[in-house]
C-alpha cells in the first residue's frame, strides 16, 4: 500500500474500525484532559470541591496532596529546603505515578497545552503549512538544565514566570491576565515555525517527565508489526515520530516490538490511526510478537490473505 495522502489520513482506520474505534484514545485523552481541568474549576465555579489548586500543587478530596516534581526540584535548586510535608508527599506521589505509567503521559493526557499544540498541528496539516525550522529534540534537555541552573542562580522558581503550561492551567482556573498571549505564542510557534516545536523540542517539563518515564511499565507495543503496510499514517500523527522505527521496523536489528523510548507520550494516536492494528498498549516486558495467524482482528486475517 502506498503512503497515504494527507487528506486521506485516517480514512482506512475509520473504514475498517469505525469512527469511534479510530479515535478511541484521542477521545479518551480529551475527556481526561478536560475532566482534570473541569475538576479543578468545579470549586470556583460550582462551589463544590473535589480537586483544589492547580497542576503545580493540588489537594484531592481534601486529603491527597499532589505537587509537580519539577517544581519540587526547582524549590531545592532555589535553596528552599524547609519544604512542608504535604509538598514532599505530593511530589513523591506524582513522581511515582508517572514513573510507572510513563512520564510523558503527563504531556498527552493531562497537560492543557497539549490541546493547544495538537490543534496547531492539526491546523498545520489542514492548511498545508510546510515551514519547518529545524530544532533538535534534545534542546528540551538544555531547557531543563537551564531551568534548574537559573533556579540555583536566582534563588527563585524563575521559569514559572513564563511557563506556558502552568500559565494556561492556572489562567483558566484563577484568571489569565495576558498569559493567553504566551499560550498564543506557543500555538503560533507550533503552527508556523516548527512542527511539534514546543512539546516535542523545547518544553522543559516534557524533558523532565521524559526522564521520569525512562523505565515506565506501560508502553505502546507493535506486536503485529509484520502487518505494517507502510502507509506512514502513524508517522504523520505521532508527536514524537523518532520513537516509531525501532519498534515498527526494528525486527531485523533485533529490536523488540515495543516503543521503549521515553520520548513516547503514550498518546495512543498510532493505535487509533493504524488501519491494520499493528499497535496496542501493553507492558514494557516480554517482547514476543504475535504471528498473524494468532491475531483475531479481521484486518489481520485480511492482510494475511
Amino acid at each position: 500500500m502506498p503512503v497515504t495522502p494527507l487528506d486521506q489520513l485516517g480514512r482506512e482506520a475509520i473504514a475498517k474500525k469505525g469512527w469511534f474505534a479510530a479515535h478511541k484514545f484521542l477521545l479518551a485523552r480529551r475527556v481526561v484532559q478536560l475532566a482534570i481541568l473541569g475538576l479543578f474549576m468545579l470549586g470556583p465555579i460550582a462551589g463544590f470541591t473535589i480537586l483544589k489548586g492547580n497542576l503545580s500543587s493540588s489537594l484531592f478530596l481534601e486529603t491527597i496532596p499532589m505537587t509537580d516534581p519539577l517544581l519540587f526540584a526547582q524549590m531545592l535548586a532555589g535553596g528552599f529546603f524547609g519544604i512542608a510535608s504535604s509538598a514532599v508527599i505530593g511530589a513523591v506521589l506524582v513522581f511515582a505515578f508517572y514513573l510507572v505509567i510513563g512520564g510523558r503521559v503527563f504531556c498527552s493526557w493531562v497537560c492543557p497545552v497539549n490541546i493547544v499544540t495538537d490543534t496547531a498541528h492539526w491546523l498545520r496539516r489542514r492548511l498545508g503549512i510546510k515551514g519547518k525550522t529545524k530544532i533538535s529534540p534534545n534542546t528540551r534537555y538544555w531547557m531543563l538544565g537551564l531551568v534548574l541552573v537559573l533556579a540555583v542562580f536566582t534563588g527563585t522558581m524563575i521559569y514559572e514566570l513564563v511557563n506556558p503550561v502552568s500559565m494556561l492551567h492556572r489562567g483558566l482556573i484563577f484568571g489569565f491576565g495576558f498569559g493567553w498571549a504566551v499560550v498564543l505564542g506557543v500555538f503560533l510557534f507550533d503552527l508556523f515555525i516548527a512542527e511539534h516545536g514546543w512539546c516535542g523540542h523545547l518544553c522543559p517539563m516534557g524533558a523532565f517527565y521524559n526522564l521520569v518515564g525512562k523505565a515506565a511499565l506501560i508502553r505502546v507495543r507493535a506486536p503485529r508489526r509484520d502487518l505494517c503496510d507502510d502507509c506512514m499514517e502513524c508517522y504523520e500523527v505521532c508527536p514524537e515520530k523518532q520513537v516509531l522505527p525501532a519498534a515498527l521496523k526494528g525486527a531485523k536489528d533485533g529490536n523488540p516490538p515495543i516503543i521503549l523510548s521515553s520520548d513516547c507520550t503514550n498518546c495512543g494516536r498510532c493505535v487509533d490511526i493504524c488501519g491494520v492494528n499493528v499497535f496496542e498498549f501493553g507492558l514494557r516486558f516480554n517482547g514476543s510478537e504475535e504471528s498473524c495467524s494468532k491475531a483475531e482482528s479481521g484486518s489481520c486475517v485480511k492482510a494475511q490473505a
Partner: protein, 296 residues
Amino acid sequence: MPKNNGHKKLNRRKFLADTAKTACGVGLFGLALGMYGKAASSLPATAIRPPGALAEDKFLAACTRCGLCVRDCPYQILKLAEFGNDNAATGTPFFTARTGPCEMCEDIPCVPACPTGALDHALVDITKARMGLAVVIDQETCIAFQGLRCEICYNVCPLRKEALKLEYRPNKRSGKHALFIPIVSSDACTGCGLCEKACIMEEAAIKVMPMHLAKGELGRHYRLGWDQKGKQGKSLVTPDTEHKFNLPEGVEYDYYGKGLIDKRQAPLTQPGAQVEKTPFSSNPLDTLNKGFKEVK
C-alpha cells in the same frame, strides 16, 4: 536500550555546530528570562503577601503558585498575580489592602493550606503575622491632623490600642481643642490593612507598606543610653554633673518649661511689703504726667 537504526551518521563538525546553536539559543532565552525575572520579582508596594509568607526572596523559591491559599481564604481576598496585569511575580498570591484586606481569621486557614511552607506553618497566632506595616503616610491630608474627629482606622483595627493608638495633641489652630492623632506601633501591627480599607479619604492616608519600605533601621552600633541604663541598673558612663546656672539668691531655673523663676519678686507684691526704693513710681501715669504738675 536497543540500537536505533534510523539515525544518520553525524560528523563532528555538524555535531559541534548544532550543539553550539542550541546552546546559544537556550542561553539567550536564559538571559532574557533572567533579566525579565529580575524585573518581575520586585513586589510592588501595594501587593501584600498572605500571613506567614516567608521573606520575598525565599517566598519566590518556595511558592508553587498553586492557589490553595486563595481557595481556602474564607473572605476570598487573595489573588494569584496575573501575567502582565499584576506586577507581582506571575502566579504568586497577594492581596490589596484598599480593596480587600486580611480579616485576620483566628485559625488562619490560608497558612496550613500552603503545601510547601511558603506560608510558614509555624504561624498559629494571627496577631504574630507581619504582612506589612500600616503607616500614616500623609499627615497633610489625614483629617485627624486637621483637628477633625475621624478615628475610623483606630476603630477598625483588630489590635486597637496595641497596633494603633490615639495620641492627643493640642490643636494650635483653635487654641482650645485636641487633635486625635493615629499612631501605629510596629511591635503589634500585623499589616492586615483593615485601616487602609476603612480610611474615609479619596486616597487612603494610612497605608500598609512592605516592612522594608515602612521601617527605618538604627545603625547597628547605636546604643540608647537610657535603655542600657535600664538593663544594667546603672549608668554605663560617668553620670553628668548637674548643670547649674550662676544665679543670684532666690532665682531658679526650671528645665521643663517655666524657665527663670525669680522668687525674690514674690514677697514684694504682697500687700504691706516694703517697697524697694527706685527713682520711678510704679504708676506709669506718674511718669507721663511728670512735667505737667510743675507747670501748673
